[in-house]
Subunit: 701 residues, 2 copies
Amino acid sequence: MALDTGEGSTHARSGPSLTGVAALLSPRSVAVVGASPDLNSAGGRPVRYLKQYGFAGEIFPVNPKYREVAGLPCYPSVGDIPGEVDLAVISVAAGRCRDVVRDCVAKGVKAALMFAAGFAETGEEGRRREAELVALAREGGLRICGPNSIGVTNLAARMAATFSPALDEECYLRLGSAALISQSGALGYGFYTMCQDAGLGFRYVVSTGNEADLSCLDFMDYVLDDPEVRVVLAYLETIRDPARFEDVAAKARSRGKPIVALKVGRSEVGGRAALSHTAALAGSDEAYGAAFRREGVIRASDLDHLLDLGVAFDCLLRGRSGLPRGRRVVVVATSGGAGILMADKCQEWGLELASLDADVRDRLAQVVPTYGSTVNPVDVTGQVVNEPELARQCLEVVAGAAGVDVVVFMLGTLSRDLAVRVVQGVAGAAASVGRPLIVVWSGGRELSREGRALLLQEGVPCFNVPGRAARALADLAWYTGARDATREPRRRTLPAPREGAAGLLAGQVDGTLTWAAGERLLSVYDIPLAPGALVGSPEEAAAAWRGLGCKVAVKLCSPDIRHRTEVGAVRLGLSSEDEVRAACRAVTDSALGSCPGARVEGVLVQTMVDGVQELLIGARRDPQFGPLVTAALGGVWVEVFRDISMRLAPLDLEEALAMLSELKASALLRGARGRKPADLEAVARILVNLGRMMVELPDLM
Amino acid sequence: MALDTGEGSTHARSGPSLTGVAALLSPRSVAVVGASPDLNSAGGRPVRYLKQYGFAGEIFPVNPKYREVAGLPCYPSVGDIPGEVDLAVISVAAGRCRDVVRDCVAKGVKAALMFAAGFAETGEEGRRREAELVALAREGGLRICGPNSIGVTNLAARMAATFSPALDEECYLRLGSAALISQSGALGYGFYTMCQDAGLGFRYVVSTGNEADLSCLDFMDYVLDDPEVRVVLAYLETIRDPARFEDVAAKARSRGKPIVALKVGRSEVGGRAALSHTAALAGSDEAYGAAFRREGVIRASDLDHLLDLGVAFDCLLRGRSGLPRGRRVVVVATSGGAGILMADKCQEWGLELASLDADVRDRLAQVVPTYGSTVNPVDVTGQVVNEPELARQCLEVVAGAAGVDVVVFMLGTLSRDLAVRVVQGVAGAAASVGRPLIVVWSGGRELSREGRALLLQEGVPCFNVPGRAARALADLAWYTGARDATREPRRRTLPAPREGAAGLLAGQVDGTLTWAAGERLLSVYDIPLAPGALVGSPEEAAAAWRGLGCKVAVKLCSPDIRHRTEVGAVRLGLSSEDEVRAACRAVTDSALGSCPGARVEGVLVQTMVDGVQELLIGARRDPQFGPLVTAALGGVWVEVFRDISMRLAPLDLEEALAMLSELKASALLRGARGRKPADLEAVARILVNLGRMMVELPDLM
């Protein structure tokens, strides 16, 4: 039996056997185990949706209690189904899942979608039961989505295998080019309907649940292969396989399909941020940030942000002019106020208002009324009400100008008919000019419905809040840069540690390296350190000072004391034997007074270094993403201003320089305000070497 | 003839004569001058709207070209109108306005609304013509709204005197408790329709245009007197009368009616564009920020922010529990993901997740399924689908708990019927518990329309983006504090300068005080300065050093040099005669090398002061708001991190301390990280004295 759905990615029965994600998202036949004649229940909804929306494959309700569900024959068990089953939707309680999975394996079902909650998310016992299920399934060649999923939808195949009430309304089956992969089912499907309201069409919606077997990455990987998918939106709480994430992200970049992710759980990090040790400065949320940045995955801050980028990418990737390649914006407004507001927002989001040269302004002056403005933001005035063609003329002039990456047209309230006429002009301009164009239309739905629909259809993204449009433009510009940047796949382990490095790790006390071992290790990795000596007495300290022959600092070294200044374990700017001797005693007394019983490795007498600016350079090992290198403004400032930049290790010199230029303090480092410029390349080399050390020495920290 | 509109603020003809804003917003009769039978034109729309929506007063179309417009008799001129006219809507070209105004004055019309553009916003000539019109009108007792206004609407009176197409749809006449006063007509009416889509009802919408006569403040003042108005939203480009603004804001506070303002022109380009848009004098954006903060006016960042606060205030001020009085939030979610996202957003906006004590958690445990969570954010799980009453039970438990200011309920996608049942429970909980409750419902319109409408009706604000809800809650908490704080009206001039102060101002060179005069002036105002001496030669410098007897700094003083470090005009840490002598020469050579011809007042030899932290204390005179006092982190950091706090002068000690606590660096100033705490009260006294000096000496700077 060959199916022809006319469109999309369902497969002919005669084709090769489906596996894994394909069986889940593009099945030829679906069994619903636990099917119910209550078509609003978790066992009834999938049957109803599959039937009602015209899924072209076979639908097999399974439930020993019923002979028929929704007019379809209902089978007592999976084994009783007469045909082959690609996907079993398992809508039974947690306790019965095991038996059903066994049945599915026996039947040769390819994939199972499990709705039941009550597994790994409830604790140890649930985790164990979940692992058993997966083992059973793997053995039998069955792949699982869930448990605790609320279902998957393939819109092209009209296959809604879900119990989410989001699908109750057929208007929420608008087909398009987006895919949504969500680790929260309820939030994911809720967000999906918000996108549909905004006119964004989808091909796939996946709730991945507990990801006992198939993960969000499996689904991303699959949907990226669908030629009709142009943008992937994701709601994430965790990424279980960072290496795989990098592969999937690389595939997305190479195909020019952006991934936009809303990753939650930031605030946990905020709580931990109080722990201000160098290594602990970065919570794992920052590791996600660094990983996303490295891989060209755009991080959305909230649902509206995710939605806006879905719309923007969907439209512009369909349009002829593609994505903006930079941040130079021309704003054309029909209301002075709207232009001013957009100019504010462009600055807020780091966009640049392109300056229009005299020639362009002369040509604008032929179009713009005298009480308008030919300076960017251009004000073509409400005169478009009387002459709708002004909009198109004005947009064509500015979109053709040199030094412009994107044109923003600000539309006010127009009557319905007029709106459509103006919008036709805008869409015409978008089609005729090779520059991306977006519209900000701050007005109600009733008056703009037809116009907005037309814009979306023509590939012109339409926003209604200026700041949201500016934020999206900033992200688009970032994305094109990140997509096109060349990058090596990240190597997680390098061939071998440098000579002599591994042996030094024995010098760790409770996970902290002694000063002496640390000093040698840094030297092995060409990370310079101010000269100094570790001493055991005031007399040795005095001798060390004589050897160094300059102004010194004296610090107590103890594996039990991290914040030395807080316990008085540091004295600075000492320039005589007596001072050094006294300081040696003072730091010991003060620190041990504050931390009785702290183990003392010695007192460090170290050259005071003058320089342009104190920086903090650090590294930590993220439990998921591995080594992470940090650069920050040093001293007490790091915690006040959080002026921090991070990268996953290993990193190259270019990445390290980019890190430094991301710091807010970077202008100062480059010599602003009459300061001496810092040797940024030397700092960048330290970052590279530190990253290398972390990668090569997996046992360090 | 007595009118009975049944509702709202139209007045009976037999009542006292209307004046000014009342005649504009609540007229008993309206003439439309330039009326047109093209009912979609600027002269036709007002006639159509007034008639179509049932304005109960008289409508008099005026146009010599027609005998009838929209079925109403049309008069050749204003003088020909048989009855009295409260409001003349003048829809004629700029060049004809003068004649029409003359006619209106002759007729005894009370107020005129002028649509024409082409006045002050076009330059000098337009400004002159505008001033003439106003003079003419004032003489005749006629008040003007505009020119360049697109009209005013009084929804209770069904009086839409506007040519904005926003009113084409009757759905955009939803009556409610908000008033919108906008200095941009097109953006204002567009925004208004967005609010109406979101379910926010209005009483007034005013486009103030060029504000040749009546300003946004006149309209705010008027609408605050309407007992049905609960919240005032404003789009502002300028405030022409800061003293009046303070009076209006004080009135709003005393009546518990929040003003939320979107003030544009923050960016340089936006500010310039605002200047040319409505011909307004731009005060500095920071001064607006300081004025708004002082007066308890909430500053919205964008249209969505303005809208959200309109909805939140409208709902909560109608509800029984009023506004939240603090930042302690309990989140109750039906989806784990939504709860996490909201927790992130609460932290981002400075809200606190209240911790629930054991007793409360025990009671929650009787309601929440075992796979949910009784810790804040509480996860009541998707089980509400099967037991809708769980929502209400759960909300009542947490809303009754101690230490909670507001409860946020996160709702997912539900079928329409179920949604209504859950929402009824939520509304019931809101009504039965004395704590404010808001809902975040991240789902599409189709499924939630009835539920959302019910929530709004019951006074429960409903958002769909978590971050927007958190932002609104943070603003609500700030507002209740600002509303209830006692504050003196700001005095713009104090009785007299301190003894000896005024004479010192003679020492200004091109608006810059000499060092010598400045030093004395600070002393008069009890603002301490590091001891030093101004000298004229290296020898005098050496002598000064001997007199001070400590480490000194040497600085060149010139009215032509502001950033001394950039031209090498500063030497620090000098501790010998020779060093001081050499430094005196060096700063002179270096500075004059960089700035040839700079006038030199002398070289300052000044004691080096050690301290906890360098701060910047400054003041300037804003062209609109007057003296503004600044505290910031000092040195090069101020420009990098913009850690700046500002207040209008005069200010009291409490305000000055609040300024310092707003700095990001404030924890450090209070002694974090083992640092010595700064004497913040001493700094605050300097701020107070500086403010006093600025107010008492209006000729300074």
